[in-house]
């Protein structure tokens, strides 16, 4: 009898009898025990109160030697010296599960002499550490992090990320000033407007003007700096952009208002200045906020490539850094490990999962002399192979460099609002000038004519225009994210709405990504529990599929003797000294079973062991000298596939399926879900070429996929959509992530983007219509400050309110 108890450190639960008992505490491993005592000795054991019941990762022991971190080459790459002479490094800390983990890491590092500051970001687990290198070395810092049960690896805080954060912070500061000032200007303006209608003495008016002027100054010159900068670049590239309109309009208005205040006549327009800047700045900020930070290839690589690999040297196995491995080195790969370099098998045999690279759903069997490709995963193989290429030239790194090229070649579809604003700004500036000239020559004072001219710019101020797109997209993005659809960049909503073609990957996108039993044949002498016990011993997807199928409540897991994996065939074992076999037709044949007559009257069996070309994979189960069960497995489409594909086709989008899998299973799947056009047996490059061809035909292409074999296509398509369960690289290069992996959310994504784009168009139309009404009024000289303020706020509210309507029709 044993019951489960939790480990005192990591809180994972195991049977009592396997635990290490230490006074009244239980530990699952030496590592956890060590950490517990370390924390206790250091006085950090209040960590356990803070962590509560959070389950932690137990420490693992196979770390590369931390002294590597002290090499000058490493320092060169990752450590920088700040202007006070201290070193600083950015690390990603693994194993952070809760805020207590952040606390513990910061605390433990703070306790070390020489550490200046530690700042760990809870959300992305990235840490910035500043320390005095003359007191301690980086390796001791990393040792400490490992000692308390976490692991850390450095990353190149890419300039891009730093710059994006800086830009965002810059906007925060400018917006804080602008919002503060315009809120204050508004209540002063209320007094002004009240005075305008009920009478106000000139000296009070001047005081209010001065107060407004004081508040408007930082808004114009600090918050509005962005528009001056934009206007400067606009003039340099000889385009009239929105920034020029905003900058000239607000500056002229500001100067005019100073003149009015100084000479005490007419009405000042300081409130308009702050409002224009604030509204347009908010619109710009929303755009910046929803911009995608470009994928950092180094991060992708380090996630996907084993950092150290096992190399045989002089008869011994040593761990080597991946970049130090040369061609002709002999490398050891164990089952479950990822292959880092391309090479040829020297010793051993086994199955490799290449689905990542080729989309082939069946594992491939490799033996001596076969080539293996980097990026594939060994399922059950334990092999030695000779590297034929070094890391920089291996398939995986090649893929990444191809990818970088594809990302920079991505077509950009110009945003509608940008197109409009180009003309808009030029037209408004022209109108203002004409108005001024007409009023001046149609004898009016310079002052009056100037005022009317400016009022055209103020009233036409593109507040609503600037808000039209960002607000609508933000509502669309919010709606999408609540349904598990993450758009990385707002502009993609618009691009997606214009899409004409959807290209989907088969394995893992349309289908479940793993084989499932579609047919079961049971014969005499079948024991469900025995089969279940047998398939538990294999990691092969077919065996897993069978295991899932036969599992039921109360099934027994017998202990089997002499379990043997027979590569590319199946498993054999002994139970109560009777032989059991489970595997494909080839295994059964080799074991002398007769497949053709008694079991399969239809003769659909291919006894020559080529079962992987048939539509279904087969799994036989033999016990005590005869075959007792046969299963047919197939990678079936997701339940919502047919319906969603139909919904997408109804939106007028052409759906095409591309797969690296063989033709038979491709045609079966495409038929089942109702896709008319498909291409099979495509390499990753083949897929991207196909996308290129569609581009050349003038199509706007959305690509949905999930594997490494799709990344080139994903990066090249106008919109790349990846499944949330897909590989990290696929998620990184794609523009949209479907968190719940369903095809329903794919069709939702299309619907939401179409609806959002419709609303953007409507918003733009509304703001242009509003301008069409107010600009003639302004040109006729009927605009007073109050009217300008009201119409500006009203049009902005109209646009915001209209954007909220995107949600209608998506109530669920």
């Amino acid at each position: 009898m044993s019951h489960k108890v939790g480990c005192t450190h990591c809180h994972l639960e195991f049977n009592e009898n396997v635990m290490i008992v230490d006074s009244e505490h239980y530990f699952c491993c030496k590592g956890c025990q060590g950490i517990y005592h370390l924390l206790k000795d250091e006085g950090l054991d209040s960590f356990y109160n803070k962590a509560g019941d959070t389950k932690l990762t137990p420490p693992t022991q196979q770390y590369e030697d931390s002294s590597n971190f002290n090499s000058p080459a490493f320092y060169d790459k990752f450590v920088s010296i700040n202007n006070e002479g201290f070193s600083d490094v950015s690390l990603i800390i693994e194993g952070i599960h809760c805020s207590a983990c952040v606390w513990l890491n910061e605390k433990a590092l703070h306790k070390m002499a020489g550490v200046m500051s530690v700042n760990i970001n809870y959300t992305n687990n990235k840490a910035k550490i500043v320390w005095d290198d003359s007191v301690l070395k980086l390796s001791s810092i990393i040792d400490m992090i490992r000692a308390i049960g976490y692991n850390a690896f450095p990353y190149d805080a890419s300039l891009q990320e730093v710059r994006a954060n800086k830009e965002r912070q810059d906007y925060y500061l400018r917006m804080a000033v602008a919002i503060f000032a315009s809120m204050n200007v508004m209540w002063i303006a209320v007094a002004q407007y009240a005075g305008y209608f009920t009478g106000i003495t000139q000296d009070v008016k001047t005081i209010l003007n001065i107060a407004e002027g004081v508040l408007a100054t930082p808004v114009l010159f600090y918050s509005g700096w962005i528009f001056y900068r934009g206007a400067y670049y606009g003039i340099k590239t000889k385009t009239v952009n929105m920034d020029i309109l905003v900058a000239t309009g607000s500056t002229l208005t500001y100067m005019y208002s100073i003149y009015i205040t100084a000479f005490e006549r007419g009405e000042a327009y300081f409130d308009s200045v702050t409002m224009i800047i604030t509204f347009v700045l908010i619109g710009k900020f929303l755009e910046v906020l929803s911009k995608k930070s470009v994928a950092d290839t180094l991060d992708i690589m380090s996630n996907h490539v084993p950092s150290s690999i096992k190399v045989v040297e002089e008869g011994k196995i040593i761990e080597k850094n991946i970049n130090d491995v040369k061609v002709l080195d002999i490398i050891v790969v164990c089952s479950g490990e990822r292959v880092a370099l391309d090479g040829t098998v020297l010793e051993g045999e086994g199955n490799f999962d290449e689905s990542n690279l080729t989309g082939e759903s069946e594992p491939l069997y490799k033996q001596i002399g076969d080539k293996i490709i980097s990026g594939t995963v060994s399922i059950d193989a334990q092999i030695k192979y000779e590297a034929t290429k070094d890391f920089a030239h291996s398939t995986l790194s090649n893929l990444v460099s191809l990818l970088e090229g594809a990302m920079s070649n991505k077509p950009r579809i110009q945003m509608m609002a940008n197109k409009i604003s180009e003309y808009f700004s030029a037209v408004i500036l022209g109108f203002a000038l004409i108005t001024f000239l007409v009023w001046w020559f149609w004898p009016h004072s310079f002052e009056r004519s100037f005022m009317v001219g400016i009022s055209v710019i103020i009233i036409a101020c593109p507040c609503a225009l600037a808000l039209a797109t960002p607000v609508a997209t933000l509502v669309g993005l919010g709606l999408a994210s609540r349904r598990g659809i993450l758009f990385k960049q707002a502009a993609q909503l618009e691009t997606m709405a214009k899409a004409t073609t959807l290209v989907v990957d088969k394995t893992g996108t349309i289908t479940q990504g793993k084989p499932r039993v579609v047919q079961e044949h049971i014969y005499d002498g079948f024991d469900r529990s025995l089969l279940y016990s047998l398939v538990q011993n294999s990691k092969h997807p077919v065996a897993k599929g069978v295991g899932e199928f036969v599992y039921q409540e109360g099934i027994n897991n017998f202990e089997l003797q002499s379990v043997k994996q027979i590569p590319a065939q199946g498993i054999s074992a002994e139970y109560m000294s009777k032989m059991i076999f489970g595997g494909n037709a080839k295994l059964m044949q080799n074991q002398g079973f007769n497949l053709s007559n008694s079991l399969d009257p239809k003769g659909s069996l291919r006894p020559n062991g080529t079962s992987h070309v048939s539509e279904n994979s087969e799994f036989y189960f033999a016990f005590d000298g005869k075959i007792v069960a046969k299963y047919e497995l197939f990678d079936t489409p997701k339940v919502d596939a047919k319906e969603s594909i139909k919904a997408i086709q109804e939106l007028g989008i052409e759906v095409i399926m591309l797969t690296g899998d063989h033709q038979k299973s491709a045609s079966k799947v495409s038929e089942e879900v109702g896709i008319k056009i498909f291409e099979s047996e495509l390499t990753p490059e083949g897929k991207s070429l196909y996308i290129k061809k569609l581009h050349d035909a003038g199509k706007v292409v959305v690509m949905a996929g999930d594997g490494v074999n799709d990344i080139l296509a994903l990066a090249l398509a106008d919109i790349g959509i990846s499944m949330g369960s897909g590989s990290d690289i696929a998620i990184d290069v794609s523009d949209v992530v479907l968190l719940n992996d369903t095809l329903t959310s794919l069709s939702d994504a299309f619907k939401i983007s179409k609806r959002t784009y419709f609303m953007i168009k409507q918003n733009l139309a509304l703001s242009l219509l509003y301008n069409a009404i107010t600009i003639p009024l302004a040109m006729a000289g009927y605009i007073i400050p109050l009217l300008a303020a009201i119409s500006m706020s009203f049009s902005s509210l109209l646009v915001v309110g209209n954007s909220l309507r995107i949600r209608a029709g998506f109530k669920k």
């Binding site: 006070e84 002479g85 805020s99 020489g114 200046m116 959300t123 925060y172 000033v177 005081i207």
Partner: protein
């Protein structure tokens, strides 16, 4: 009512408001709002001991700086 009263009230209130604004800007600049999760969780780690540790850390950093600045 003399108009200087209005001027004074406006001046004082804008001044007070701008103090709050400056404090907020300082908060953004020093990265206090960068990590919202940590920012919210900070309440949990705000015991006397934690505050003492923070002070100690600041002292340590100051000493290291001093040492670094007087190499001669």
């Amino acid at each position: 009512m003399d108009s200087w009263v209005i001027a004074m009230m406006l001046g004082v209130s804008i001044f007070l408001g701008s103090i709050a604004l400056v404090a907020f800007l300082w908060g953004i600049k020093s990265g206090q709002f960068d990590d919202e999760q940590k920012f919210l969780n900070a309440v949990k780690f705000d015991t006397q001991e934690d505050l003492n540790d923070a002070v100690d850390q600041e002292k340590k950093a100051k000493e290291l700086k001093k040492k670094n600045y007087t190499p001669e």
